[in-house]
Symmetry: C2
Subunit: 296 residues, 2 copies
């Protein structure tokens, strides 16, 4: 992997919030720094797990400014910038490029359903043309279980042909390994991050560049260990061990579960706040989850 390309273990950073639902930016910045110290090679603030889609446009811009001002290297950041409307996506993406972010993680416009491949291509193309900044590096974000709208292989092919130096990779959270394998095999040099660390070993073996995983918020060291040792003889066992924490959390709303783990670990109850429409776990569910996670 060329040194100027992103790879490794990225966390879609959880967003701590005060009781009044405003982001606790100092706590968030400290958490970002801790994740980098604990094994993350980079960060994807404003991912799905970050509740980015529950943050306002100006909140996101102010938080990114503050994060970089606080000394987190922009080159290690891949903020989520994909909104429903092109002008809003352009605002966030242009800011990220201007600040020197290593990349942006780009959801397709996700309100309208049943849109054409041509429509998705044109939406991304408009964003790139309007940002008009050679520093922009786009990682498309494929997460049809939530966004419903996704990126087909045909759209990826068209984007790579049209913007070869700008569309450089993707995060695949489809949960569909056959799709990810087809991308890895079909587009060599296109940097594929798997959205779940349970596919990390398979991703790396097929030339993928790592993972952007919600679990990296709570077990960055374990995920990093597999990334660093994927050629080791016992790599399959390391992957199997790595799957247990995710398995322990799978029956609970994912973001709420991770926030409970953070609250338990830090003794700081403010971690458990989520913005509606997401809500935190009941005490009973939280207790059960924490016991399962501790035993994993």
């Amino acid at each position: 992997m060329p040194t100027n390309r992103l790879g490794g273990v990225f966390a879609p950073v959880l967003t701590p919030m005060f009781d009044d639902l405003t982001p606790d930016t100092p706590k968030w910045i400290a958490f970002c720094k801790q994740l980098l110290a604990d094994g993350c090679t980079g960060l994807a603030p404003f991912g799905t797990t970050s509740e980015a889609n529950s943050l306002g446009l100006s909140e996101r811009m102010e938080m990114l400014d503050a994060l970089i001002e606080a000394g987190v290297p922009a080159a290690r950041l891949m903020p989520g910038t994909g909104m429903c409307a092109i002008p809003d996506t352009v605002k966030l993406s242009a800011q990220a490029a201007r600040l020197g972010c290593g990349g942006v993680l780009l959801l397709p416009p996700f309100y309208y359903k049943g849109v054409s491949e041509d429509g998705v291509f044109r939406a991304v193309a408009e964003v790139i043309e309007r940002v008009g900044d050679d520093r922009l590096k786009v990682y498309i974000y494929n997460i049809p279980p939530i966004a419903v709208v996704g990126y087909s292989l045909a759209v990826i092919e068209r984007l790579l042909a049209a913007y070869p130096g700008t569309v450089v990779g993707m995060k695949d959270s489809s949960g569909d390994w056959a799709y990810q394998q087809a991308v890895l095999e079909g587009f060599p040099g296109f940097d594929v991050f798997t959205g779940s660390e349970r596919y990390l070993l398979a991703n790396l073996r097929l030339g993928g560049v790592g993972t952007i995983s919600a679990m990296a918020n709570v077990i960055p060291d374990k995920i990093r260990f597999l990334y660093d040792n994927y050629l080791a003889a016992n790599a399959d066992q390391v992957q199997a061990d790595l799957n247990r924490p995710r398995e322990a959390t799978k029956d609970y709303a994912a973001i709420a579960a991770l926030k409970q783990i953070m609250a338990a670990r830090t003794g700081d109850r403010t971690w458990i706040t989520l913005r509606p429409p997401l809500i935190n776990l009941s005490q009973a569910a939280a207790d059960e989850l924490l016991a399962k996670f501790a035993a994993a």
Copy 2:
């Protein structure tokens, strides 16, 4: 219906755009005025059909300001204000209330899927509390075929109990008549607009207040005629006649089809522009659609 409540025929106003995809605000304002002259009792700018979710936050705010400054009565407007993130929804809703709009049309937060009823309730509650303006009149917007997230009967019941003077009605675009009937029968005094004029007669007969229909962009007079004559002996025949234009367009992407009709009617080709991810019809499809619509 009390005179200070909205009812009748509302158009989710199509948004004309220049080739560079910026909204043609003067043309849009003129079209709004024409719709009111042609039979619409009110307007729902920034609905799904308006491509509102493809417009940036500041574009929407500037356009609403301009529309009211141009003399369109705010009391007859129900702008769409529901975004994914509460702060953005609050900005748009507070502006609408401050400007005296008759109501706001509120999508639930639609990014996260599988959210709880409690989460949807809390999201709407947060918006109402944060706007904190007695002038705010909320019409919830139920459109699960596109937003996926919808409003259940239990959520409606909770909202009406908590905010009886603020949550005053809804637009139901579920396409599920059994659902709409249950709302009409279950919540007397809650003002239900049907999202499709093909249910207008049924809606009015059960105490509904009218329709907010995409087709009102192109046949406001015909829809208004049924609204004004729904007690007439031949009302069923009027409804059947009214269904033909929609039937003629149903095989085509809805917003693109309506923009083609506008372009053909006005001789103004700029009407056909849509913002990605939506795209216009091929010439062949447009020709076919226009022939069917003309014959309807």
